[in-house]
């Protein structure tokens, strides 16, 4: 769709984690506060090596927990610094309290998440339990399905955060994406620097001539308005993200949308999913179509705010919608299935897959589409 305007873009084979670190290197943020956790660690290890080799100026704070990582990020961002972090699973759960404070204080922090299962039992592999637990914490959530997307959306996410003054999570599937190597293309550092621009906050702690109090007490007469303002800010995200994707398309030649459509035009059955499973589903769709099944895939890239209108339009003519959740909600309907059902105003077929890194095979998807699996699980 776009022509690549960057003369010296480079083709490389990188994992999702490395791609994230590469994008962060090119952004060259002021501060990164991090704590190790699998499968996020490659991001901070690669970035720390960049720091040791003098390839970034970033102050890397190696804190003693994820709680302190996000706490230091709030401090750094309030101080006026472009701030990033990364985490997974238990780490994101430990950050939970401060996620709400980061968004409540309107801090444009960028967080890379290698999405992973939550204990118990302990499991270090990929699923979406961690990020689903943070879905209503006031963070924008953008899903990636490939290392290329991780690289691109890290750059886009940084710009979006600062534009809408909201924290942004860029999410990749733990191991499936974070540790899988893919051929991809990166931009020149200068192009990335120009794209994200200089960060110049309006109000910040280090502006000592204009002292500001961050994080006051707000009671019955004002708390409600603060929270409503935060909610209203989410109304601006979809429009701004579209503009930023458009702009990014011009420098990268790669086009992104809030939702991605695959063979939807004539589809009678549409699968809906997020993250790395998209590739497997597309292969299954190609095979199913050879057998005459009119089936397509709708990938949700922007999960918070949820693009209800676009989803509604994309699914309006289809007979059957099958929603795949990589998370198990307890005592209620599955999260993505509920969102899709709400978007189109009718019931959907809900399936849970891939918990704790369980592989999802093409055949399972094909059986699902053919109606051979009615269990609600791809076990």
């Amino acid at each position: 769709m776009y022509k690549n305007m960057t003369k010296n873009s480079k083709k490389l084979a990188l994992t999702g984690g490395y791609a994230a670190a590469e994008a962060l290197k090119q952004i060259n943020p002021d501060v990164m506060a991090v704590y190790p956790i699998t499968p996020q660690t490659p991001i901070i290890e690669v970035f720390s090596k960049f720091k040791s080799d003098g390839e970034v100026d970033t102050e890397v704070i190696h804190v003693e927990s994820e709680h302190s990582a996000i706490s230091a990020c709030v401090g750094s961002s309030a101080a006026g610094a472009r701030t990033v972090t990364a985490t997974s699973s238990q780490g994101l759960a430990l950050m939970n309290e401060i996620l709400y404070i980061a968004s409540g204080l309107r801090r444009p922090i960028l967080m890379l998440v290698s999405a992973r299962a939550l204990a118990a039992p302990l499991n270090i592999h990929g699923d979406h339990s961690d990020v689903m637990g943070a879905r209503d914490s006031g963070w924008v959530q953008i899903f990636c399905s490939t290392p290329q997307e991780v690289y691109d959306k890290t750059i886009v996410g940084m710009k979006l955060a600062e534009k809408v003054k909201l924290p942004v999570m860029v999410i990749m599937d733990g191991f499936n994406t974070s540790h899988s190597v893919e051929n991809m293309e990166i931009l020149e550092k200068e192009a990335v620097q120009k794209f994200v621009g200089e960060y110049s906050p309006e109000k910040y702690l280090l502006d000592i001539d204009n002292p500001v109090t961050f994080g006051p007490v707000a009671l019955q007469n004002s708390y409600f308005e603060f929270r409503k303002d935060l909610s209203d800010a989410f109304d601006t995200v979809e429009g701004e993200l579209e503009k930023i994707y458009e702009e990014y398309g011009h420098i990268s030649g790669r086009s992104y949308k809030k939702i991605e459509k695959y063979k939807l035009e004539d589809a009678e059955k549409i699968l809906v999913a997020m993250g790395s499973v998209g590739g497997t589903i597309k292969d299954a769709i190609d095979k199913l179509r050879e057998d005459g099944e009119k089936v397509g895939l709708l990938e949700i890239s922007l999960f918070r705010p949820f693009p209800y209108e676009e989803v509604k339009k994309a699914l309006k003519d289809t007979k059957e919608v099958i929603v795949l959740d990589r998370n198990l909600a307890f005592g209620t309907k599955q999260v993505l299935a509920s969102e899709i059902s709400h978007s189109i105003g009718k019931k959907v077929k809900s399936v849970v897959y891939g918990l704790g890194g369980r592989d999802t095979f093409q055949k399972q998807i094909m059986d699902l589409v053919k109606g051979d699996n009615q269990s609600g699980y791809l076990l």
Binding site: V31, D57, T58, S68, G75, T83, I101, V212, T213, G215
Partner: protein
Amino acid sequence: MNKELTKNLASGHSACAGCAFPTIVRTILGESDVPVVISNATGCLEVTSTLYPYTAWKVPYIHNAFENAAATISGVERAYKILKKKGKIKKEIKFVTFAGDGGTYDIGFQSLSGALERGHNFLYVCYDNGGYMNTGNQRSSATPFGAATETTPSGKMSFGKMEVRKNLMDIAAAHGVPYAAQANVAYLPDLKKKARKALETEGPTFLLVFSPCTNNWKFPTSQFVSIAKLATETNFWPLYEIEKGKYKINWATEKPKPVEEFLKTQGRFKHLFSEKNKPVIGQIQKMVDAEFRRLASLVE
């Protein structure tokens, strides 16, 4: 009010009459010759100074949560370092954290330890009122042995808190910080000296300041200075500092007053004066004497 005194923390905050921490905050910040940026843990100081749409802070201030004031200032301090290097910030700035004992000894313990270990250039001040006063007087690990709180009430089977206070000074010093000192709101010249030294020392520094709470220690508002003074005169709260590992006692007397003199001024120790609990006072006296001897033995 005195303009010089209120140049950092204004009057009009809603701390109780007879509360010690406004004096502590003003005295410490008054010793900085350069601008300061503050981080503050959730607690009495925070809720009484930042009730939206007002703020008593005339200097940049951030409250993040209860347990992370040290982690928060870590981020602020590193942001300063890089932005100064990049030429975006020109001025010299000092960084000061204020937290109560709950936010320091207990829930903020890990965050404090991490920040001290990483060596951020900041001063951490704990105003120690021996309990969770903002939530209505529950025990913390700083609550003195024998004190009655809402969660360690005295009764037929209890004389109040049965555990000894955590020794936070030694823990802070064990991080190898260049300067840590114990001070008292009743000894302002000493507090000033310590604040100045802490602020002028490169690296993480730590002040533990005795901060009586009129409401929950249960004493008349006019008495906070005299009660604080008794804490030091009885050796219940010795004034000392640990500079590059060397201990120095800043105030001592040949004849310390009996600890009973301090205990009898406050409602939280009232139950110790019953016949049944009298032996506990003797126990406290022994603990105070032993601790002071230990401290004296550390002085070269």
